[in-house]
Amino acid sequence: MNPFAYVQPRTFDEAAAALAEKRFSLPMLKAGGMDVVDHLKEGLIQPDALVNIKRLRSQPDGAPIAEAGGKVRIEATATMAEIAASDVVKRLAPVLGLSVGTAASPQVRNIGTAAGNLLQRPRCWYYRHEQFDCLKKGGSTCYSIEGENKFHAIFGGGPCHIVHPSNLAPALMVCNGVVHIVGSDRKSLPIAQLFHGPDQGIRSEHVLKPGEVITHITCDAAPRSGFYAIKEKQSFDWPLVAASVSLELDGAKIRSARVCAGAVAPIPWDLPKVEEALKGVSVDDDAALRRACDVAGDGAKPMTDNAYKVRLLPVAVRRATLIAAGRKTEVDA
């Protein structure tokens, strides 16, 4: 790690000011620090200051998660473990807890934060390797195209082919999540507008400007919601594909659905065709449910090593739908 100063703001406004002022040439925000320390150790970043917001809260009560007017409110610095264990989340938006409850490892979930999960950098092995001067680091080549792209994008790729690493982001997408920010004229931003594809800027994955700091996140209640990830390992692994689903049900029949996929595109990837196909389907009609979910892979542009994702995605979507409806998947049955 390169030497850096350690700045301790007492409020999010102070944190935003510390990032904006010219005192440091390359200050970086740090909460839990998992991804920041990883980047420092790999030599991918050389900040001259870390602005530590690990223990800051936007609300005086200090609760990491709370119910506010029927909505869920999550502090930016709430840990993944806190979100997964929260009764408010379990009751109002279970998809959020399920999405982070099996991410990484128990140790990481005790440290990693909500906003950190949203803003973590991609896991692409070319990006993560100091020796590869890839597009994301200002180079001229995306090495995944002619290299190993087993874990890369099947939707929305090009010129860079990362998949977005956050489990929480697609979950928030199906609950109309909103991030609240300071250090800016805008006070909030829908989660659907937080991320941008590589065609709109390769060096970052989100639209926040330097000095803008997420203080907390809110989302609508989505009591019928579920998440399912397919991984190679059950611990400390990122999903091969993941699906977040929120349903409105008439008995067993789906009145409307929100479906967003993770680990398949450089941003959380909405699946409107699946949403349309799920309308009117009974979650207990296995054949109809499979038919509706099979359209999840439509329009995919797999690379040389990742066409398997096109087949896996409908499975993840269907299982997430069953979980959202309170049913068991064939794996649990």
Binding site: M1, N2, P3, F4, A5, Y6, V7, Q8, P9, R10, E14, A18, G33, M34, V37, D38, L40, K41, D48, A49, L50, N52, K54, R55, L56, R57, G62, A81, A104, S105, P106, Q107, V108, N110, I111, Q234, S235, F236
Partner: protein
């Protein structure tokens, strides 16, 4: 700075670092033994400790107190400027195993480095150094964390428990005892981390099911593959009958 005198010492019982120098540095139980209390003579750790003895300090200095206040989000006078430390080494106090310990670290020092190189608490192991293996697991304010991925300054104001802090009055923690009884180790390098993960799990869930044990320990890797014995140790430490052996006999 890391104590290079230990690492480069031509003789001595252990290197104390995860390197390729060839000197053993794995502790089965990760304990620092006080030769005065156990009468076994000088252990390798206590020998090393005399080379790089760290000062134990009993009271918080004014600066470290205000730093702790800032970290804990307590009221700090509005007029005061934001606290900025480093990049030079800073004097801080870390609460380790119930004792306030003074240490001088750069902000770029991890908690694991502070423990191993500055405080000579070498029970926590550096293995992957990327938060993937759990060998460096410690409990910070009741939560199991990877000390290799946490900055030492992030631990100021928190209560840190390392594997050295589990034994009380010369008596091993029940988790440590059942690891011994069930042979929950082979090479022993992952053991301190797994013992801490097991302790943290039982603190939160005194009677976990086998599934919960597997989940609770899923952030720790044992490359020797001693998981069966480790699960049995966790079951016994929580007052439950070890079942893995019976299952395997019937298989």
């Amino acid at each position: 700075m890391p104590d290079d005198s230990v690492h480069n010492a031509p003789t001595g019982p252990g290197c104390g670092r995860s390197c390729n120098c060839g000197r053993a540095n794995a502790d089965a139980d990760g304990l620092i033994r006080d030769p005065k209390s156990n009468g076994d003579g000088v252990s390798r750790r206590s020998f090393i400790k005399t080379l790089g003895a760290s000062a134990a300090v009993s009271s918080l200095s004014a600066t470290s107190e205000s730093r702790a206040n800032a970290l804990l989000g307590r009221e700090v006078p509005k007029s005061a400027a934001m606290l900025i430390d480093g990049p030079e080494p800073v004097d801080v106090t870390l609460n380790i195993n119930g004792k306030p310990l003074a240490v001088k670290v750069e902000p770029a020092t991890t908690l694991l480095e502070a423990l191993r190189f500055h405080l000579n608490l070498t029970g926590s192991k550096e293995i992957c150094d990327r938060g993937a293996c759990g060998g460096c697991s410690v409990i910070v304010d009741g939560k199991l964390v990877n000390s290799c991925m946490m900055l030492a300054l992030d631990a100021v104001g928190a209560q840190v428990t390392t594997v050295e802090g589990l034994a009380r009055d010369g008596k091993l923690d029940p988790v440590q005892e059942s690891f011994v009884r069930h042979d929950g180790l082979q090479c022993g390098y992952c053991t301190p981390g797994l013992v801490m993960a097991c302790r943290a799990l039982l603190n939160d869930n005194p009677k976990p099911t086998l599934e919960e044990i597997k989940k609770g320990l899923s952030g720790n890797l044992c490359r020797c593959g001693t998981y069966t014995n480790i699960f049995n140790a966790a079951l016994e430490a929580s007052g439950q009958a070890p079942i893995m052996d019976q299952k395997m006999e019937g298989a």
